[in-house]
Symmetry: C2
Subunit: 500 residues, 2 copies
C-alpha cells in the first residue's frame, strides 16, 4: 500500500482513538457518573471534541485525501481502500464546515442540557429543560448555516444521520405510510381487543435482566466484546469493534419492556461487533447509517423478538421464571399481548403499528423548531395537542410527554426519522432473508440464530460504513428504501392477531 | 491577573481535561471493560498520552512559564499564583525530558502488562507476566536515562512520586525503623496471642458493602462527588475535584477486609475532594505527594478505623449485621482481633506492625531490578526467600506472592516506599491533631468526624499540591518526616493490646 495511504490510516487511527475516548466519557456520564462530575465532564468533552475536530480537519488529512483520490482513481471503486478514501472525504467535507469552537461549545451546551433534562424529567418540569433546548435549537440553526443552502434547512440535519436523504423524501414516504397505518390502526381498533393485563404486573428486575442476557447471548451478542449496564435511556455505544456496550432500564409495571429494550440494543451492538476487523480504528467501522442501524435493532426486537416462533421456543422458560405473572397465560394469549396495538404515550414502548406515528410527531416538531415556527415555550402544549390528534392520548405530565426522549438534550436533531426508515428497511431485509433461508422460522423456533446472524454479518455487518444506505439496501434487496414490505408485514401480522 | 497567566491556565485546563479523560479510560479498564476492549484501550491510552504530553510540553507553555516566573518574581511566594507557576514549572521540566514516543509506548506496554498481570494472577503463573515486567523495567531504565545522573538511578523513579526524596534518605529512615519494628514484632510474638478466628468467616458481601458505605459517609466522603465500584485491586481516581471515585474488592473468608479497604480509599478520596475549588483544572488540584496521600488513607483506615473509640461506636451495628460471625464476640476481643499482628503474605491485608516489612522487600526488589542485579526470571524465588527472611512466611503460589500487587503491571516503579512514609506522616499528623482537638477520641466514640475532617481539610487538603511534602509536614507539625511518632504509636497501641 502507498505511503500516503498508510499515513492517512495512522492519522485516522488517532482520530478514532479520540472519538472512542469521547464515547467512553459519554457512556460513563450516562451510567455511573456522580452529579458532581457534570461540569468537569462538560469541559473534558469540550476539550476532546475540539482536539478531535482539529486533528480530523487538519490540512494534512485534506491534502492526503486529495492526493489519494488521484492515486486511487483507477482502483476498484468497491475496494476497501477506495471506499475508505471516499467515506473519509465525505466526512472531512462535512467536518471542515463546522468550526472547532462551535464543536467545543456544542459539547459544553449539550452536557449541561443533558443534566438539565435528567432533572427536568425527574421533576416533570419542562421549564427546567426549556432554556437548554432553546440553546440546542439555536446551535442547530447555526450548524445549518455552515452548509450550502439546501432545499430545506432541515435537510442538513437529516443528512448527518442519513446521508443523501432529503426532508421532502421522508415527508413523501411518511405520506404513503400515514394513511395506510391509520387504516390499519382503525381496522385493529374495530376488532376484538387482546388482553395484555399480565404485562402490567411487576416482573422482578434481576430475572428480567437474566432472561434478557440469555436471549441476546443466543442471538450471538458477544459478551467478551461487550457488556450491559443500566441507564435512564437505553443506548448502544462502541469503543472499538471489540468493545460494544449496551444499556437497559427497568420501569415498574411495564412487564417485559426491559427485555425488548435489551434485544433492540443487542441488535445495534451485533451490527457494530460485526464490522470487518480490518476496519478497526478507521472511519469504515460502524454502520452504514442510522436507519440501517435501526433496521438491525428493530429486526431483532420485533421481527424476531415479537414473533410466534421466537416465543414458541422461549415461552416455557419465561413462564418458569415468572409463574405468578404468566403461569396461567397460554402462549397465544401472551403472543397477542406483547403485540397488542394501543396508542400510547411512550415512543420506546410503542407497538409496531403505532410507532411511526410517534416519529411523525417528532419530525414535525423538529422541523418547526428549526424553521422557527414553533415557540419552544409552547412545546409541551403542542406536543400534547398532536398526541391527541395522532394517537388520541394526552400525556398526564411532561416526563411522559415532551421530556421522554434523551435525543434533544444530547443535541440530536434530525435523528428521529431514521427510526421509521429503519422499520421499513428491516422488513425489506426480512423478506429477502426468508427467501434465502427458507427454514428460518423453524430455526428461530428451535432457538437457533446462527444462520440469521451469519446472513446479516455477511450481507450487512461486515461492510461497516463502506456503502451508503440506499446503495446497501439496493445491493442486498434489489430495491431502494420502500414502505411496501413493512406495510405488508404489518397487515399480515395484525390481521392474523386481530382476525380481520 | 495578567493575560499570560490566564493563557497559561487555559492551556493547563486542556491538559487537565486530557489527563482526566485518561483517568476515566483507566478506571473503566479496571472496573467494567470487557476483555475484548483491551487492545483498543491500549491504543486509546497511547494516543491520549501522546497528545497530552505534546500539549503540556509545548514551547508555548515553556515560554509562558519563563515569562511568568519573571513577572511573579516579587509576588508572595506562597500565593496560589506563584505556587501554580512553581509547581507547573517543576512538572514541565520533568515532562520535557521524556519524549512523546516514549510516553505513548509506555502506555501501550503497560496496558498489555496489566492484562497479562490479570491473567497471570488468575492462573498464578508468573511466566505469563514475566516478559511484560521485563519490558516495564527496561522502560524504567530508559526513563532514568532521560534525567541527569543522580546519586542512585532509583532516585529518579522515587522523585516522580515523592519530590525531593532520595534513595539514601529512604534507606536511612528504613534503617531506623527496621530494628525497632523487628523488636516490636518480637515483643508481640513473645506475648499471649490474640484470637481473630471470627474474621476468617464469610461475611456477606452486600452487608459489608453497606456497612462500609455507612462508615465512609459518616467520615464525610461526598457521594455526590464520588462513587464506589469493584475492581481486582482497590484504588482511588479523580476525574475532577468533584468526581473522585473509589473501588473495593471482596475476598472470601477475609472478614471485614473490604471495609478497611473502603476506609483506606475514602481517605485518599476525601483528600482529593478537599482541594480548593479554584484549583480545578490546574496542576494544584490533588495531593502534595503519594506519601502525604497515604498519610490520609492510612489515618482513616488505621488511626481511626482500627481504634477502640471507633469500634465503641460502630460495633453494635456491626454485630447486628453479622450476628453469626461476631454476635458472641465482645468488643475488646473484636478490637484485638482486627489489630492482630501476624506476619502474612498479602501487603494490603498486613497489620500495622508488619506492613513496613512488605515495603522494604519491594523496595529492595525494585532497586535490584533497576540496578540489573536481579534476574527477573528469578523474581518469584527471590520474593519467597525474602518473605521467609523478613516475615517468616512463604507464599504458596505466585498469586499470593510476587503477583499480588498491580503496581508493576501499571508501570509504577518507585512507588511502594511512599506507603511506609505515609504511615510515618499519619502518626506525626495524628499527634498534632490530638493536641489541637483534645476531645477527638470522644468525638470518634460518638461517630462524629466533622472536626477531624475539618482539621484535615484546613491544614492539608485545601492546599492540594501547593506545598512540597516535606514543606507541608514541617508547616503543619513543626518537623520533617520522622519515624518517632509512628514508632511511639505502634508501641503504645500494641503494648496495650498484647500487654507487654
Amino acid at each position: 500500500m502507498s505511503e500516503k495511504y498508510e499515513k492517512l490510516k495512522t492519522l485516522l487511527g488517532e482520530v478514532a482513538d479520540l472519538n472512542y475516548a469521547t464515547a467512553i466519557l459519554g457512556w460513563d456520564q450516562q451510567t455511573y457518573m456522580p452529579a458532581g462530575g457534570a461540569e468537569a465532564r462538560g469541559n473534558q468533552l469540550a476539550t476532546l471534541g475540539r482536539i478531535t475536530q482539529i486533528k480530523f480537519t487538519s490540512d494534512e488529512i485534506g491534502k492526503l485525501l486529495d492526493d489519494l483520490q488521484k492515486e486511487f482513481a483507477d482502483a476498484d471503486p468497491d475496494s476497501d481502500e477506495a471506499r475508505l478514501i471516499k467515506v473519509t472525504k465525505h466526512d472531512y467535507d462535512q467536518a471542515t464546515r463546522v468550526p472547532p469552537d462551535f464543536v467545543a461549545e456544542f459539547a459544553m451546551v449539550t452536557t449541561r442540557a443533558h443534566e438539565a433534562w435528567v432533572e427536568a424529567r425527574s421533576k416533570s418540569e419542562f421549564s427546567v429543560f426549556q432554556p437548554h433546548l432553546e440553546k440546542v435549537v439555536e446551535m442547530g440553526k447555526q450548524f445549518v448555516s455552515f452548509f450550502p443552502p439546501a432545499d430545506h434547512p432541515y435537510d442538513v440535519l437529516l443528512d448527518q444521520f442519513e446521508p443523501g436523504m432529503k426532508t421532502a423524501d421522508v415527508k413523501e414516504i411518511f405520506g404513503i405510510l400515514r394513511p395506510k397505518q391509520v387504516e390499519l390502526i382503525q381496522a385493529i381498533s374495530s376488532s376484538k381487543q387482546v388482553d395484555d393485563s399480565f404485562l402490567r404486573l411487576d416482573f422482578e428486575e434481576q430475572k428480567q435482566w437474566d432472561f434478557g442476557v440469555d436471549v441476546v447471548t443466543k442471538f450471538g451478542y458477544d459478551w467478551k466484546r461487550g457488556r450491559q449496564d443500566k441507564s435512564t435511556h437505553p443506548f448502544t455505544t462502541s469503543f472499538s469493534i471489540n468493545d460494544v456496550r449496551i444499556t437497559t432500564r427497568f420501569e415498574p409495571n411495564s412487564g417485559a419492556s426491559a427485555l425488548f429494550s435489551t434485544m433492540h440494543e443487542a441488535g445495534h451492538a451485533m451490527y457494530d461487533q460485526g464490522s470487518k476487523q480490518d476496519f478497526e480504528r478507521t472511519p469504515l467501522a460502524g454502520g452504514a447509517s442510522l436507519a440501517v442501524h435501526e433496521s438491525q435493532s428493530r429486526m431483532w426486537e420485533n421481527l424476531v423478538g415479537r414473533s410466534l416462533p421466537f416465543w414458541k421456543h422461549f415461552y416455557p422458560r419465561f413462564q418458569e421464571l415468572f409463574p405468578e405473572q404468566v403461569g396461567n397465560v397460554d402462549l397465544m394469549t401472551f403472543y397477542k399481548g406483547i403485540n397488542k396495538v394501543q396508542p400510547s404515550l411512550i415512543r420506546v414502548e410503542a407497538d409496531e403499528a403505532t410507532y411511526n406515528m410517534h416519529i411523525m410527531l417528532r419530525l414535525e416538531m423538529e422541523i418547526g423548531m428549526i424553521e422557527g415556527t414553533i415557540d419552544i415555550k409552547q412545546l409541551p402544549e403542542i406536543w400534547n395537542t398532536k398526541m391527541e390528534e395522532y394517537l388520541g392520548v394526552i400525556p398526564p405530565n411532561a416526563a411522559r410527554g415532551v421530556l421522554q426522549d434523551i435525543h434533544w438534550s444530547s443535541g440530536l436533531m434530525g435523528y428521529f426519522s431514521t427510526y421509521a426508515l429503519g422499520n421499513l428497511i428491516s422488513a425489506q431485509l426480512w423478506e429477502k432473508i426468508n427467501q434465502d433461508i427458507p427454514n428460518l422460522q423453524d430455526q428461530i423456533q428451535s432457538g437457533k440464530f446462527e444462520t440469521l446472524l451469519g446472513w446479516l454479518r455477511e450481507k450487512i455487518h461486515v461492510h461497516g460504513r463502506k456503502f451508503e444506505p440506499q446503495e446497501l439496501v439496493q445491493k442486498v434487496t434489489g430495491s431502494k428504501i420502500d414502505p411496501t414490505a413493512y406495510l405488508k408485514y404489518l397487515n399480515d401480522k395484525y390481521s392474523q392477531i386481530y382476525g380481520f
